[in-house]
Symmetry: C2
Subunit: 440 residues, 2 copies
């Protein structure tokens, strides 16, 4: 081991943690990754624990950097647009990107995590330990305490860089809460979600290569395809509506009225059983600043910016965190302390922008997509995008199919709104002028 080789400790071996381990492993750093749960490759998968994932541009770019894009996309299913289900069962396909034909890709969380763990462990300089909990952080001495849950041994660990990739309920962030000037908010929305399933044998009844949406105003259901031809179906709804569906009769009545075409696909039995036996899960949004602490602590992914899942950017933004950290680490002769400071400066406004956009997109998905005004706007966006593909990138495209800063995507959208409103105003004025002349 060279003296100048950097040691990196990563807390959390989920998607972002293990991708980060690959990046750091590739750089030749000595990497130690500690995950509190058992090795997911050796345990049975549980159902209903997570929303399916949609990989888009930022996630792909990060995977490409560590040579994993191909293997992941081979097992992913492209989704070229939204397929809207009306109450009467009519279908309408709305493409994400009719001009450049970009797709997002549905992939299973477990599969992705396993590929990433295998890749991380393939580096000789990466050590992965499961069943290890972060139990304490000493910011003054800049060391952490970990517990091996098999032996219950507690030991100290330190490194040149200590990264918390330990998810929305991050233990490292929890410790950072008590450090000076740490800004933090956690918001639970009053909607929850429940996962249902369309079994493989009925999967071909669903129009392929789409993200299916049943938009219903105050709530919605979505479905994403799996490799085994099954579909993962997720119902998002206010908790109070979930709570009002306490019996088989009520559940069936509710589905009959709002998602009639989904009942034969999910199956009445499975539908009712899932409702009666599962509590809907919560949706948290976390914002904080800065992401670094002292001279070596950093949080990335959900630990830094957990968001509601409606823009499909939770994982993608976490993967982009790794890309950005990696780029900053390329700058030789810059101290870790300065690198993580710059990381916060770059990343905080962008992550806060995507957290806000994710919140907004719930309204778009469950409600706006049903409105004429929304469709008119989408058409106008596409026409101008075709004419000026570099200056008028619609919001969804810049977020999902580019690596433009999220905060820039948001600002562009705000400028576009102003121009659009002006155009609509001029159009109406012109129309009024023509009508006025015609009547005189």
């Amino acid at each position: 081991m060279q003296d100048d080789r950097r040691k990196v400790v990563i807390i959390g071996g989920g998607l972002v943690g293990s991708l980060c381990a690959c990046f750091m492993g590739q750089k030749g750093y000595d990497v130690f990754m500690y995950e509190k749960r058992p090795d997911p490759r050796k345990t049975a998968h549980t159902r209903g624990r997570s929303i399916n994932l949609a990989i888009s541009h930022r996630g792909r770019a990060a995977l490409r950097s560590v040579g994993l894009e191909e293997i992941i996309l081979e097992s992913a299913i492209p989704m070229k647009g939204r397929l809207l289900h009306s109450k009467t069962g009519e279908l309408q396909s709305v493409l994400y990107d009719p001009i450049f034909n970009n797709c997002i890709y549905s992939v299973g969380r477990n599969f992705l995590n396993e590929v990433l763990l295998n890749a991380a462990e393939s580096y000789n300089n990466v050590t992965v330990k499961f069943n290890h909990n972060l139990v304490d952080v000493d910011f003054r001495r800049e060391v952490i305490q970990l517990r091996n849950n098999d032996t219950m041994e507690v030991f100290e660990e330190t490194a040149d860089l200590i990264i918390g990739a330990d998810g929305a309920h991050s233990a490292l962030r929890f410790a950072m809460l008590s450090t000076p000037m740490f800004q933090f908010s956690q918001t639970y929305i009053d909607h929850g979600y429940l996962e249902l399933r369309i079994p493989p044998e009925l999967g071909d009844k669903m129009t392929p290569n789409h993200l299916h949406i049943w938009p219903r105003g105050q709530f919605m259901m979505i479905a994403l395809p799996n490799k085994d031809t099954s579909w993962t179906v997720t119902l998002f709804m206010p908790f109070k509506n979930f709570n009002s569906l306490g019996s088989e009769a009520k559940i069936i009545h509710f589905f009959d009225n709002t998602f009639p075409d989904a009942i034969p696909l999910i199956g009445k039995e499975d539908l009712v059983q899932t409702f009666l036996n599962t509590k809907p899960s919560q949706l948290i949004s976390v914002k904080c600043s800065p992401y670094h602490c002292g001279s070596k602590f950093l949080i990335i992914g959900d630990a830094a910016h957990a968001m509601v899942p409606f823009y499909g950017q939770g994982m993608n933004s976490g993967f982009e965190d790794c890309t950005i950290l990696n780029e900053l680490l390329e700058r030789n002769n810059v101290k870790i302390e300065e690198i993580i400071r710059q990381y916060s400066k770059i990343r905080v406004p962008n992550a806060q922008a995507i957290c806000d956009l994710a919140m907004y997109n719930y309204v778009e998905m469950r409600d706006l997509v049903n409105r004429k005004s929304f469709r008119v706007r989408k058409t106008v966006d596409e026409v101008i995008f075709r004419l000026c593909p570099k200056t008028w990138i619609p919001l969804y495209n810049s977020v999902s199919f580019s690596n433009l800063d999220y905060s820039r995507c948001l600002r562009n959208k705000q400028s576009q709104d102003k121009v659009y409103n002006l155009l609509v105003g001029l159009f109406l004025l012109g129309l009024a002028y023509v009508l006025f002349n015609a009547l005189n």
Copy 2:
């Protein structure tokens, strides 16, 4: 001990904790209050640790309920208005309440805490333990773990009601952070504060019975009177400005330019030494919801709603928390679980309103008070208040001299703003009409 007698545990023996102990003691409950610091009556006081306190209506009402208003007010100094210091040393008195002559009262934190601790301990059924830390909370079993820091013994404790009055960095709230659906935000503003002092022998050079303000736009200095004729002076300023004052010359230059009349009162030597030897303190604002957890946990005071100090309502709102909890507990036959649920419902929107108002008042104190438009508005407010004292209560008066819900105070202000803007609009229109006629 009767079987039906309620046991209450209070974490934190600061101002709100010990007042709460008085309320609960008065009800005949078995009260155990645990404070992590040593008994302040037996330790030397430290300087510069806290902003002086201003007691107003809500604080007085709570003290009155436990028979302590008189003793506190006897040692407090009435402040009937703001005394504004211009850069050139001119003084202007702006009364808080020229109509009903209400005052706010300056009181020392240490004195107040000692009176409250003595009062709490005067109840046979109240036990106060110092040097006791909350180390763990088990929300499932509804027990807490405490550590006696003298013996290092850790023990379990439980009660019918467990109240966290443990301040802005509350350990109980910290534990609640991980409970489902707990909304939370902590915000540090980028301004800090530094405490200075005008010694007793120079105190009579200050106009008495006022809260002195040196409003300077982006920052300000204030002074509150003490019983020993000294004044506690607090400078609020962006951290970056504090950081730019690293030498004696810079400090003196800064004071010469912005607070020249304060230099001889504070004294150059003391001024420079305090600046060079003290780090400015941070200002935190905390919002969360709900304030209760499970069937017996509740947070009150700063633990639930720490705010910036600019409305002088931090302590007053914490004391009002005790009044409201006390009123709810009067309802016999209502379970604690239901009482704390109702407490959250009543108190969350009001505390969030005063947190917002406190943030706003910094701008008013440091900047708006200097503006003509602000003074015109204040005069208009006073005229209408005199005419309709029940329907047009100016914001400061409803916050400081009434027990109107804080959220109602805020809404009233918003309605008044609309009416005021309408009046100004009509006035300008009338003026234009008169001018137009005069010119024709």
